[in-house]
Structure formats: C-alpha cells, structure tokens
Symmetry: C2
Subunit: 245 residues, 2 copies
C-alpha cells in the first residue's frame, strides 16, 4: 500500500516537481485510488527526507490541477471524478492529433492586408496597418472539419505556407520563442452562408459552431486573432473546468 516514492537530489528537476509527478502518475495509474487518504504531510516529508514546505508545494500543485482535495483536520484525498484534463489553451491541430485523427491543413490564403477596425481593435494595432491574414481549411480523414481565418501582427513570425500546412499555428509560435499566456474566446453558433457552406461541404443555412479568439503572450501583447467556423457534426468543444477557490 505504501507506494514507492523517491527523489533524486542530484537531478536539476526541482524536488517538489519530482514528487508531484510521481503522485500524479500514481493517481493516473491507479495506485492511489480515488477517495483514499494521502497520509499526513509531516510523515510523508520525513519518509522522503524532504521538508514539509517542499511536500506541501508538490501537493498544492496537484490540488490546483484538481486531482487532490485537502481538508483541514482530515487529510488530503484523491478526488474520484473522471478528471481528464482541465481546459487548456488548446490548438485544434494538437487536439486532432491527440485524438489520432491525422489532421491535414490546406492553406487558402496567406497574404498581408490592412487591418480592419475589428482586427485592429483585437490585436491592438493601428487601423489600416499591415497584418498577416491566413485562411486555412482543416481536414480530418479527408473531410473538412473547420475553416480557420487568422490575423497575425507583422514581424512576429515567418508565415511559410508549407510549414502552415504541416503543423499548427501555435506550434510555429512556440518554436520562435513566443510563450502563449492567455486568450479571450467567444463560442457561438449561426447558420452557414453560401460561401461557408461550400467550403465546408455543408448546405446553406446549416448550423455552424463559431469561435473567435484573441491570444496574448506573456508580455500581454496580442499575437493572434482568429475567427473559426466548425462543422458541429465533426467537432465540439469539450473541456474540464475547475472552480477557482
């Protein structure tokens, strides 16, 4: 029952992180069954040769992830819900790939245009200033799934069409050192226009799922504004929320 935990003090990986990873793995693997107590922090710290703050930091990170619940006077329990993964700033490309769908991308437009008022406001640039405009069709199993229209401020990225077709936009950003920080999203629905229906292989007026997103990097700079439409029969937004306590 006492699962084997150990830390490597010679590793550059922080001790609290080593511990939290092992605990997370144990929960994932089932060694730590839902509802079971984790044992008190003091004793756990002693067993591992760590200080209590370090152990607390490890446990806290899992509490923040929603895997554990602490209760004063009781102990720390493994939450027994089917927590998959909390909502992250997800990329459609990564989502599809994780689902084993082998996503393909077709670049429809890759050009530079003057920013409309809407785009300028979203990206925080001057109206009519140059921005990149990229329009892509995302396919899975050869079927169109989504139409992605993105605007990117100039100078951030080398928007190579070949690269856009072989990977996702977020990956390209991360590859050039942009660290994504937050995004503001709006999800809605509406009927397809004739042009949209044609692109996605639906009929005019068919329900479409729409998503608009402005993404910011860690300096607070807007790095992307996107207007996406999804075929609801092929895609829906699925995620786990945690209550902020």
């Amino acid at each position: 029952m006492s699962l084997e935990l150990s830390v490597d003090r010679s590793s550059p990986v922080p001790l609290y992180f080593q511990l939290s990873q092992q605990l997370e793995a144990a929960i994932e693997h089932g060694s730590l069954t839902p509802g079971s107590l984790l044992g008190n922090e003091i004793e756990l710290a002693a067993r591992l040769g760590l200080s209590r703050p370090t152990v607390r930091q490890a446990i806290q990170s899992l509490v923040d992830k929603g895997l554990l619940v602490r209760r004063r006077g009781v102990g720390t329990q493994v939450v027994h819900s089917q927590v998959k993964r909390p909502l992250e700033l997800s990329s459609l490309y990564d989502d599809l790939e994780a689902a084993g769908q082998r996503p393909a991308t077709k670049v429809l437009v890759n050009t530079v245009v003057p920013a409309t008022a809407e785009v300028a406001a979203a990206l925080g640039v001057a109206e009519d200033s140059d921005v990149h405009r990229v329009e892509r069709l995302r396919l899975a199993h050869g079927e169109p799934m989504a139409h992605l229209c993105n605007f990117i401020p100039p100078g951030l990225l080398d928007l190579d069409t070949a690269q856009l077709e072989s990977t996702g936009l977020y990956r390209m950003m991360r590859a050039v050192g942009i660290t994504l920080h937050s995004a503001r999203q709006t999800i809605g629905a509406r009927g397809a226009t004739a042009a949209e229906a044609d692109r996605l292989g639906e009929q005019e007026g068919a329900p479409l799922l729409t998503m608009q997103r402005v993404t910011f990097d860690d300096t607070g700079r807007a790095v992307e504004y996107g207007t996406h439409t999804y075929r609801p029969s092929r895609y829906s937004f699925e995620f786990q929320l945690l209550v902020r306590s």
Copy 2:
C-alpha cells in the same frame, strides 16, 4: 508612486490574502500600471514587516490568476492585457444577472424519473434509479434565451419550484453546503427540432448552441447533469483562458 500597502495582523484574514487583495485592487484601479515592475520581494517584505514566503504567496496567487508575470532576474510585472475574468464554473443565472439582464425562470417540469442509461452514466447512479428532472426556460427581458434540462441525484437538494424560479440551481446547491469543484462540459451546435423551436421562439432547423455539463462537488460526486440549448442570437460563451505552466 509607492502605493500604500498595509496589513492588519489582528485580522483573522490571512496576511498573504490581505496583501494579494490590495495588489489586485491596485491593478484593477490602475495604481499599478500594466508593464510596471512590482519591486523586489525582499524589499517589499521588509516594508510591510512580513516574511518573504508570505509576500511570495500573495504574489503567486495573482500570478495564478494571470494578473502578474514573474521573470527570474528581472522582477514581477503587471500583465497588460485586458484580462477580465478567467473562465469559471459559471451559472447562466449569475452571468445574466452580472450583465444586468434581470433573468427570469419558468419551470416547465419538476419531477422524479427513472434514470436513462445516459443520465445514469453521467451521474454515476444505477440505471432506472430515481433522479430529479427539472426543465426550465430562462428568459431575459421577457424573451426566451435558453432551455435548461437538468438531472439531479436524489436526496441532495429540496427542489422547490418557487425557489427554482427565483434563483439559480448553483446558488441553491451552495446554499445547502454543496461546494462545487469541477465540471465537464461539451459545447456544440445543431439545428432546432420542432419542439425546441417552439419553446425558444425560433424556427425549425434554426441553429442552436448546445451545452452538456456534468458537475462534481469536492468529494468527486456528480451533483448535476444538464443538457442546455441556447439561442445563439441571444447568448454565446465568452471566457478567458490561462495557459497552465
């Protein structure tokens, strides 16, 4: 420029929380302008008569909220993006009320039914066992906005119809000591059936925004399963995401 910070050691409110609230207020209020450095932790601790871990805990909580960014060797900066509020486990009722829309609720169904396979799986109860079924129509300005169909395990809540019409389901749960913890959501879209169109004042086949949600309390117990449909012309999901680092 040196904003006035102070802590009350006689207060039962934790010191780190007092500090984080004051910092958050200063950011909100504009005393701490976006991009500005926060000053080093050591000096801040000395100025307030606190220890560095306490100050760090306060700062960390704001970093987790996405208001601050720490950079080793540089300092802690106020993020200058229009962070409104990170995605929370939101209640439609609260959302509408916050938007000043004076929500109204009409209870269509409030009964006990045997759980279908779908409901039983979502709530983790036995198939055909009794569950509450509540169907409501949510209106704003007298116009229907959404149709809410919820299933609740028995014994959790006194589902008084009058109370359901005057407040939201989540508030009723919190009022009886249920602490919401997480939820699994799916957002999609589809065309309205004839019955749905009639209820919401739309036409058959009109695009509808759909949301399904299972909500868990802090013991991991499912406390609610809901299938909602929204009129996309009246409502869309809008939220802020943070990247988990």
